[in-house]
Symmetry: C2
Subunit: 234 residues, 2 copies
Amino acid sequence: MKLFFHPDPTADHTLSEEESLHAVKVLRLKELDTLTIIDGKGSLFEVQITNAHPKKCSFAILNSKKEPKNRTYNLHLAIAPTKSIDRIEWLVEKAVEVGVDEISFLHCDRSERKNINLERVEKITISAIKQSMNLYLPIVNEMIPFHKFISTSRSEKCFIAHLEEGERKLFQKEIADKSNILILIGPEGDFSKEEIQKALENNYIPVSLGASRLRTETAALAACFITNTIKSSE
Amino acid sequence: MKLFFHPDPTADHTLSEEESLHAVKVLRLKELDTLTIIDGKGSLFEVQITNAHPKKCSFAILNSKKEPKNRTYNLHLAIAPTKSIDRIEWLVEKAVEVGVDEISFLHCDRSERKNINLERVEKITISAIKQSMNLYLPIVNEMIPFHKFISTSRSEKCFIAHLEEGERKLFQKEIADKSNILILIGPEGDFSKEEIQKALENNYIPVSLGASRLRTETAALAACFITNTIKSSE
């Protein structure tokens, strides 16, 4: 099933320029053809094309249904993006496939990447929900400095994954009875000692993701997979 | 710590052409400089350069130590490679980081990719063990037809992950008391009905990797992460 994305098809009955192009030029859909739209908030809409315009394809809604989230938890991933943008884009795609609810980008002391193209990240999340049928689009936040992020009060249970010496608990053991989770993943050179100290002062729990030394993007994906595995065992 | 690879430094005291180039030309190491070699079988060797030749850098072993495997299980991943070779190379890198012991490539009914560059895959595994400090190099096998693979008798507990209708158990529940695991991951269009039937006849247990619809390479990595999470909880 080929899916299209529209954030609010009940309010505006026109596909975006990109989606119109895909429907009309690539798939050669015509007036009266039907297609399925997802809104990233759990709903699927069966619609019929009313005007097969290659830039502003309009439609009428035939019917809709809302699917519940197929996960029982809320996971917020806050990461310092890697120098290689490919690795971060890869992570976003995979994290959405596996299950993530919010992604924040951190600018850390040792960050090599100081900016992120949010529009491109959002496109990847949309493409990944279409592909994986995880119908809930994650929230993606602008990059902010670590110290600003850490001092914001949070409703989630907060964790920081780092590689420095000192006591660290095993992440998978700590989330057993938690359903609203935030985990921070550091840059290639890890969080600085000052950042870790600041996180501890703000009641973040220091955790390890296992015995292996993982790259930044693998560690972030590990957090998604571990949470998914533990929560679907409960 | 910059690591070098040599499959048997006690038998042959010369780095490969590629590793010699890296040591002598890139890192500008000289006679009497020391470096660390891993052999992919758990050993680390401290060696001293005896001849800083850019193609045949020779060394003398100063000392060595053997590290135990940091995992208590054996995981064999058998996958039908994706059409995009990038996705498979990515998977190999990540699987080695997370932990995998053997990788086999399957040629299935719906395979779009009918060959694999094994030399390139092996290079990726070597680079990944250096990066992740998982000191055990996985075995990588040539691609073989699904029917040939499935009819070979196995010492592992065997699973097949597929998306067809029918009873499937949750992989993470099935591996609880198993330490020697083989899992088959199908191509982009999934295994054919005949292949699944053939697997069942050979006592493979049909499993699901969770609620999400995962791409081939994400499913393969999910198997690695799930096994790691469950086994390190035991």
